[in-house]
Symmetry: C2
Subunit: 226 residues, 2 copies
DNA sequence: GTCTATAACTTGATAGAC
DNA sequence: GTCTATCAAGTTATAGAC
């Protein structure tokens, strides 16, 4: 966290270290970790290769740095929102949708800012690609734990194991939705290219909250309409 | 597609070409495409590096070959099941859950066989990693089109665009569920390690069919229980 | 068909001048 | 702090003997 000298423009990166971080974010978000070479990053950043090792030491350390500085603030906002919603509920059971909203809204909102979009996609790609490794636990462990507990309170009749499974599946939908629209086969992809963040968020909330609230081990007949 | 000489054992790969395909499948399923070098593949297969280029020409062609021979049969089974269900429905509206089952069951069933597990994970990883490229369209285009049409008939009151969005989200849940259990943060991951294919399939069907049937643009109150 | 040997290139990382 | 130059190891791919 470094002070900007000069006007606080969103673009025009401050110093070399900052340019490397920004470029790494862009490359990782587009190609993932394994496919992003340091050389492609420094070309994009317009800096020298040695600068990366001077400032970060290694490619892996660069990954840690670029993830850490971005994920922290988003997760703080997530926890803050969840607290706020739970306080507002005043002991009443918090709807699943609200819990999910507390988790999703900060990332979705961030992804509307020009720089934020790359960051959100990057984290999704890295998670998916399995490049986070132990970072996943360090950066997300507390948040996952906390939201899992909240969901458990919102769905008390759902067995713990089933909740866990649904959380796992839900994370998949979220991660791929945030990774961006590449490779969705067929002309279908074209029609979703212009989907705004608000539409995605609403779609995610409808889809996921229904999924979490799905009846468990019910009989053949469905309990909902359609 | 080559005939086996000798007993039709599941293991003990037949010839060099077959061993390369099997090894590539394993490596791609574990590390993805970009992170799997040809050298790691030939080491795993116990063959020479030049053999890869002799039989396939390039790493990319190897990818095409390994995907093509596996995806075809699964997709045929998917289409066959969907036809069967639709015929059995005799013009009545097919439940969403049945459509999803026709899509998921063949892959899940295959993933229980020792070789099949690697194959299913591989395709999921490649799709997620965006390594399929135009292969996604060639191999999955028809199936996606066909199942999208079936879902449209099963959910006539759902706007086309909303269905498309939900299909996109659902594919994410499916892909990550099939990729395998790596990197799910925290001790939660441990508890899902022993989840059998049957449990995953049932969980997916509950979760997804509820998600697809979620009311669209409904008011604040929920229509389902809990 | 399978091997060795090697070409041609890319990768992450470092040493040392400035 | 930033550069050039370079290393050592890794990568895909190929030529040619057997």
């Amino acid at each position: 966290m470094r002070l900007n000298r000069g006007p606080t423009a969103t673009r025009e990166p401050a110093d070399t270290k900052e340019r490397i971080l920004a470029a790494a974010e862009r490359m990782f978000s587009r190609q993932g970790y394994a496919a992003s070479s340091l050389r492609s990053i420094i070309a994009d950043a317009g800096v020298n290769l040695a600068a990366v090792h001077y400032h970060f030491g290694s490619k892996e350390e660069l990954l840690r740095a670029v993830v850490h500085r971005r994920v922290g603030p988003v997760n703080e906002e997530r926890l803050r929102l969840l607290d706020e919603y739970e306080r507002a509920a005043r002991g009443k059971r918090l709807p699943v949708r609200k819990v999910l909203e507390a988790f999703l809204a900060p990332a979705i909102r961030l992804s509307r800012e020009p720089d934020g979009a790359a960051m959100v996609r990057m984290v999704a790609r890295l998670y998916i690609e399995d490049a986070l490794g132990e970072l996943a636990q360090h950066e997300f462990g507390e948040v996952i734990e906390r939201f899992n507990a909240a969901l458990r309170r919102s769905l008390p009749e759902l067995p713990e194991r089933e909740l866990l499974l649904r959380t796992y599946l839900g994370m998949g939908a979220v991660a791929l939705a945030m990774r961006g629209p590449q490779t969705f086969p067929g002309p279908l992809s074209e029609q979703l290219k212009d989907a705004g963040e608000a539409e995605i968020l609403r779609g995610l909330l409808d889809f996921l909250s229904a999924g979490f609230r799905a009846p468990w081990r019910r009989g053949r007949g469905s309990r909902c309409a359609s």
